[in-house]
Assembly symmetry: C2
Homo-oligomer: 428 residues x 2
């Protein structure tokens, strides 16, 4: 039996995730002592309100984070602040790392905004770093990226990373609800926040995409260079028509390594046999495409305090278990491989269009000639519902770059054609 | 920059996996030297036929495995022998471990038969051990099990672990082929061996189930205590009827932790929305159900030399990267948690029955009374095709233990009823 090593932990935040993490730490103390010769002690917990009643009592609470961040006895900080206060969270995390403490993080936004600088500090200070709770909830994607793909590159990452939007899309697809109705249902069930804007406008997915890009492709992308199509730009009619064509529309993130990093975040048509098409409700999926390994898909609950806290606890034990010496583990990320991306190529995809046209002679010829003029092939044209003197039409076209799309939209509008939706297909 | 450490590797076997692994090692030497300060050298390769032409030349080949296993300079043995010669493989692997060498394994059968003893030797000799290539092809299930679930138990493992059978089932389900036709197609495409018996009788899946049980539930099960329903016991008609009911029939492995380990290997009806139902062709899926994390699914190519060799290469680097000292890494598996299972409880599942009855008055009453007598509820009864004076009938019943099933079958047979199929449902 090796000697028991005492580890003092500081926890920042005691919301649902923080509380769950503390509970897992307390419940597994004996097991971890036995299996890893580590004696875990929660030395203090930073909370904003000392007077709020707590489910777990007997803890040393403080409303002064520095008390923990500057305590030389504390070797690991678990950051469970989540969405509340990005600037403060950034300050705390950097302070912990600069003070030589290992950090287990949950805030994706701070990692997405300051990841490159943070990784440099982690390496300089030779501390441990865990971030599995920032992306994919219970999916151990960080642990997979750290332990796999050592002899090959990851060429593409596809993900459903926002549980709120996926729940909404699933209810639209299966129950025929409108976006607003489905959002309301998500809020009732606790799958969406009162202010769901970060989720439904795609920013939550964007933060996660940046973190995934950093750790899967060792490439750092400046958040200002990303554009996002809001997940809320979706209509139940499109869900229905997509299904008739053998597809489901999903709130998708696609990151592809070409000359530079190519990305797409927004609604996307996915073939019904694809694992992303069958990932429903509040589940997440992350699909990695490696040179040798081929397609690997990981599927799990995208949110929830238990899966998230569980991921943080595994990070904690892995970080502590790394070396027996007092000096805690250095992070394995190869920083020299992190390169910046300055230009983002445009994604070109086959497209689904839903338009409304006047029901008169020559209208279709009009559309066809606009497309032909822009060198776009119409692969299918499907007439949908008639409403008065107008008809709904679905077109499937060959792949188009963004500039041409806006040219076509302008031309169609001039001809009194209403563009209801333009949605890309996922390349298989 | 830390000092470069020279690592001499012995490779056993140069079939498709061995050749691919060697190629990955050679192609990544510079990268691994740079990133991990490890200089990988393949000191020798054991082959059975020295005269066979090889794609990779310039290697030191030997037809004497001991030459590598007893070489004190070699610190890691990569076993790529696969299915060829279980006893010899066992002997080689144990010899390598006893000689203080780390081992990266690919043979699931040897691990399934001798896993407990082998793990004890690995721990005694404090060597590294990698086994990710034995289960799930490119799916990094071993790495996930090693790095996750530290604060919780895994209660159930569901898997499609045999790519050959899954390919056959998919072609039966999608193209309406018979088992034999689909098997022939699998052989033509290289997804099935000339002698496919280990795959289609379920033994390949059984070996993998035992390995998964050992590493996910830390429980060792004697292979003789397992019974398997051959995957070949399946008919295209059942695929069709299952689909009408909203299910797909899959070649499934289910391992559940109850009082003891409860298992089922064989054809199984899976709800069409389940990730296992949408895992098709030569893909594998492994679903872990944890106390906190909930359902986690991992999806990837179940076979193929590239994914398998890639998993072995990751194992190799992870094992070598573990400690900086000369003494190589001890395995993290907690052997004191491996307990034996002496009795296996029976799985009880809702059942799908396809029977053929004479088309005469009182026949349904007959079936109903047999079921009622055995305390079984008929949840649905669907009349299928009529053939002459006989009708095909599909029954869905409540859950039944194995003994009652055979009682019912006997009674039905006495009444001149033909039992075409009895297939369980997967509990959701």
């Amino acid at each position: 039996m090796s000697e028991i090593k005492k580890v003092k932990i500081g926890v920042l935040g005691m919301g649902v995730v923080g509380e769950e993490l503390i509970s897992i730490i307390l419940n597994n103390r004996d097991k971890i002592r036995r299996q890893y010769s580590l004696d875990l002690e929660i030395k203090g917990v930073f909370v904003r309100n000392l007077d709020k009643p707590r489910r777990i009592t007997g803890l040393n609470l403080t409303d002064n984070a520095e008390e923990l961040l500057d305590d030389p006895e504390i070797s690991v900080i678990c950051e469970c602040i989540g969405g509340a206060g990005t600037e403060k969270t950034r300050e705390y995390v950097f302070r912990a790392v600069n003070n030589g403490k290992s950090v287990i993080m949950s805030s994706k936004k701070v990692l997405a905004l300051y990841g490159k600088e943070l990784m440099q500090k982690v390496l300089e200070n030779k501390v441990g770093f865990g971030f599995d709770a920032t992306v994919g909830g219970g999916i151990p994607i960080a642990k997979i990226l750290k332990n796999c793909f050592k002899g090959e590159g990851i060429n593409r990452v596809i993900g459903i990373l926002n549980a709120t939007s996926n729940f909404i899309y699933t209810r639209m697809d299966k129950d025929g609800l409108s976006f607003e109705e489905a959002l309301k249902k998500a809020q009732e069930l606790g799958y969406a926040e009162n202010d769901p804007s970060e989720d439904i406008n795609g920013y939550d997915a964007l933060y996660k995409a940046i973190v995934l890009t950093l750790f899967s492709m060792k490439t750092w992308t400046d958040i200002r260079k990303y554009a996002v199509v809001p997940f809320s730009q979706i209509n139940a009619a499109d869900m229905k028509y997509a299904k008739e064509l053998g597809y489901h529309i999903k709130p998708l993130v696609v990151v592809e390594k070409k000359k530079s990093i190519v990305y797409r975040i927004g609604p996307c048509l996915v073939k019904e046999s694809n694992i992303a098409a069958t990932t429903n409700d509040n589940f997440n999926v992350i699909v990695l495409e490696g040179t040798n390994t081929g397609v690997l898909g990981f599927y799990g609950q995208g949110a929830g305090s238990k899966p998230t806290a569980s991921a943080m606890f595994d990070d904690l034990i892995n970080v502590l278990n790394k070396k027996d010496s007092d000096e805690l583990l250095s992070h394995e990320l190869q920083l020299d491989e992190i390169h910046d991306v300055n230009s983002l190529e445009e994604y070109k995809n086959n497209l689904y269009w839903r338009i409304t046209v006047e029901n008169r002679v020559g209208m279709f010829a009009n559309i066809a000639s606009t497309m032909a003029k822009n060198n776009i092939n119409i692969e299918r044209i499907i007439q949908k519902d008639e409403e008065g003197d107008r008809i709904g039409v679905v077109l499937l076209t060959s792949s188009i770059d963004t500039e041409t799309i806006s040219n076509i939209i302008d031309e169609l509008k001039e001809n009194n054609i209403i563009i209801n939706a333009v949605i890309p297909f996922l390349d298989e």
